[in-house]
Every structure is written in C-alpha cells, then in structure tokens.
C-alpha cells in the first residue's frame, strides 16, 4: 500500500515537472527521425534510441530528483515516516521504469520494430530499473548536479560503449553477460533473448539491492544526524 502511494507520488512528481510532456515531444521527434531514415537502418536506429534515452532516463534524472528532494526536505520526512528504504527505491525504479517502457513501446510500435513484445517490454523495463538504481547509488552520495554528471560518466561509458560496439558488429558471445548487450538482444528478440533476460534480471536485482543499502544509509543520516 505504501509502495503504491509512493509510486503514485513519484508519477505525479514526474508529471508536474514535465517528464511526460518532454518524453511525448521526444517520442514524436524520435519517430519522425526513424521514418526519415532508410528502412534497413530503422531497427538499429530504434534500438540505439531506446537504449540511449528512455531506458537510460533514470541515470540522467536521478541526481536532480534526489537533490531536489534533499533541498525540499522530502527525505527528512521519508526518514521519520514508516516508509522502508526498499519501498522508496522500489517506487523510484518502478515510476521511472513505467514512463521508460511507455516511451519505448511508442517508439517500437510506431517504427514497427517489435518482434517479441514480451522480451521487448520486460527488457526496457528492467534496463530502466537498472539505470535508475545506478543513478540512485550515485545520487545518494553527491551534493551538486555537476558532481552527479561527473560521477555518472564512467557508468555511462561502461554500459554504453560495449553495447554500441555490439550493435555495430563486435559480437563476442561472452559479452552477453553485459547488461546493455542483454537489453539489445531483448529488443531485437533474438534467439539469445531468454538467457539475456535472466542476465538482465540478475544485474537489476544486484544494483537494486545495492541501491537499497545506500538509500538506507542516506536516510539514516539526513539533516546531518544519525537516526
């Protein structure tokens, strides 16, 4: 029940601060670009777009969200409320995962690149949760937006570079253990989609648990005192 309320609160927050309008605009823009491209490029371009934007949304926005909550003393209220750290993490991950998945489905359906809807949807959702969890881990430890931007660069490089190399032909089988590559295989709906799904679940759970531990620590020390 609490998670549901937190989730709805986060969705309202995202609507209020324009996430939905911005992604409506970006969806239209991406779809327009996809239609301007030659049809044989469409699948690769759509995968690249979904991977680099809606799926990675959490890593981009989480710093601003948590810093804003810190400055508005939202976290202080959360800390003394019955909300558990895992509920806070879950709500953040699910709410961003929700909008990411909607945007990815819109791009996928409009450009007709979805071959296996189950793998496509779960892939985007899990990857979004993974990115958000990583974003949350960094966001809890920073005090300014610039710090967050700098802190996320290594994570972005580690996730994006192998995935893009894979997309453009560097396909060694061991790379399938990489979460970004697992998402690409899920989006493509390839024959290795099932192992990719399992790998992505493991990565997402690992980072979600890690994020929960760090949020717990942060909530214990908001306002400069150990609760």
């Amino acid at each position: 029940m609490r998670t549901k309320a937190l989730f709805l609160g986060d969705v309202r927050f995202q609507i209020k601060y324009g996430f939905y309008y911005i992604y409506l605009f970006f969806s239209i823009l991406y779809i327009g670009i996809l239609f301007a491209l030659p049809p044989q490029w469409r699948l690769t371009a759509a995968i690249l777009m979904i991977f680099s934007d809606p799926a990675a949304m959490g890593l981009y926005f989480m710093g601003a969200i948590v810093l804003f909550e810190k400055s508005e003393r939202v976290l202080n209220s959360v800390a003394i409320s019955p909300v558990k750290p895992y509920e806070y993490v879950l709500s953040k991950l699910l709410s961003i995962g929700f909008i990411s998945t909607i945007v990815a489905i819109a791009i996928g359906v409009a450009s007709d690149v979805i071959t296996k809807p189950f793998f496509f949807i779960t892939g985007v959702f899990l990857c979004s949760c993974l990115f958000s969890a990583i974003g949350l881990i960094f966001a809890c430890r920073i005090s300014s937006l610039n710090q967050f931007v700098i802190a996320t660069i290594p994570a972005e490089l580690i996730i994006n570079v192998p995935a893009i190399a894979w997309l453009f032909g560097y396909q060694k089988s061991w790379l399938l253990f990489h979460p970004g590559i697992s998402l690409i295989e899920l989006l493509r709906g390839s024959s290795s989609a099932l192992p990719a799904l399992i790998i992505l679940i493991v990565w997402t759970l690992f980072f979600a648990v890690l994020a929960e531990g760090i949020v717990k620590k942060m909530l214990r020390s908001v306002g400069g005192v150990k609760l």
């Binding site: 927050f13 601060y17 324009g18 710093g63 601003a64 969200i65 400055s71 300014s144 610039n146 931007v149």
Partner: protein, 237 residues
C-alpha cells in the same frame, strides 16, 4: 568589476570542488584528439570496408564545427547546473542584491566562462581541425559558438523552476544544436525553416563560406538572449 571577478572565482571554486572544471578542460581535448586522429582512421576503415572513395570526409567540416562549439557548450552547461543549484537554494537571489547585481551574476556565471572557452576553442580548432580554417572565419565561428552556448544555458535556467525541470529542459535544449546539421543534410529552401536557430547560421557560415551569415547569426543569438534574459531576470525578482 571586482565583485564580478569575485563571483566568477566563487563559481570556479565550486566547479573545481565538483571536479567539473577538470572534466570541462579535459573532455574537449579528448574529443579534439578523437576527431583529429580517430575520425580519419575510421574513415579509412569504412572506405576500405564499403569500397567507397569517401564516407565521413564530406562531413569533416561538421566535426570541426562540433569541436568549436564543444568547449563553450560544456563550460556553459556546468554554469547552468551551478545556476540551477543556486536558484534552488536562493543563492542567486541573494547574489543579485549584492554589488554583483542581476546582470553581473549572469556575466560572472555565463559570459566569463564563454569568453574563456572562446580562446580555448580557437586553440583547439587551430591545432586539431580536420579542414582548413581561415583565421577570420575561425574567430567568427568561435565567437558565435560562445554566444550560442550562453543562449542554451539561459534557456535552461530561465525555463525551469528547479533542478528537476532544469535537467528536463537541458535535455530539450540539445535540439538547439540541430541547426548545425541542417546545411549539411537539407539542400532545398526547406532549410530556412530552421533560420530561428543561431546554430543554423553558424553552420551556414562555414558551409557556404558566406560572411554575411554572421549578421543573422548575431541577430538571432541576441534576440534569443534578450528574451531569455528578461525571463530569467523576472525569476530573480
């Protein structure tokens, strides 16, 4: 002038504490090295693979343009993040009532970084450009790129009420860069649909080597800056 320099020093201290200063200095250098040596290497590999005489070579000028814009853009991005934080924490309001003033606040946060990055852009471009640039063109483009970066930062800080909205707007502000691509990919008169974007005129100046494009580039830049400044000024009161 002293309050402005003090305010600027405060900004520099802030971004050096966040390590953003080092990133802003190092990232354009890495990009320049990649553009100068990586792109021709990639071009040779691609041409060999597809058996074509040129693939990326036609767009070397575009890479140079991105290099010219990168330093001021990154520096002003760091500035806009600082301004967003300071606005959220009411610091910008306090600074605006000190001798720094509203205008001075923005000068120290945006104009000084843009000026410094103008020189950095000229140096990077003269050392690492892929195409030949006459000095007047290089100076004009780097100056316009700095103005453009100020404009993008103003867009972010004037259209957002807090950090979260700021990040959202900064995502959209990337669209302002689209103008750079237009003269390279749209050859019909449809390209003039993008004439409200200063980036379009900057690219046109380089693509056509027509120095007259400086006028609309300046005009659109100052128009945007004027409108956005007024908006931001209202936010500070």
């Amino acid at each position: 002038m002293t309050p402005l320099f003090r305010s600027f020093a405060m900004f520099i201290r802030q971004i050096s504490r966040d390590s953003m200063l080092y990133a802003v200095c190092i990232a354009p250098l890495f990009a320049a090295l990649f553009f100068r040596f990586g792109i021709p290497y990639l071009e040779a590999r691609l041409c060999g693979y597809f058996n074509l005489p040129a693939i990326l070579a036609e767009y070397y000028l575009l890479f140079d343009l991105f290099l010219a814009i990168l330093t001021p853009f990154l520096f002003c991005f760091a500035s806009s993040m600082v301004i967003l934080t300071e606005t959220d924490e009411n610091m910008s309001g306090y600074l605006a009532v000190t001798p720094v003033g509203k205008k001075g606040y923005l000068v120290s946060r945006l104009v000084f970084p843009a000026l410094i990055s103008l020189f950095a852009s000229v140096i990077l471009l003269s050392l690492f450009s892929l195409t030949l640039w006459p000095l007047p063109l290089m100076l004009a483009v780097c100056f316009l790129a700095s103005l453009f970066s100020i404009l993008v930062s103003l867009l972010v800080v004037s259209f957002s009420h807090n950090r979260v909205e700021g990040m959202a707007v900064s995502k959209i502000s990337g669209i302002m860069m689209f103008g750079l691509l237009v003269p390279f990919f749209i050859f019909s008169d449809i390209q003039y649909l993008f004439s409200v974007l200063p980036s379009f005129w900057i690219a046109k100046l380089c693509y056509d080597r027509d120095y007259l494009s400086i006028l609309p580039a300046l005009l659109t830049s100052f128009l945007w800056i004027g409108i956005l400044y007024r908006r931001f000024e209202k936010k500070l009161t």
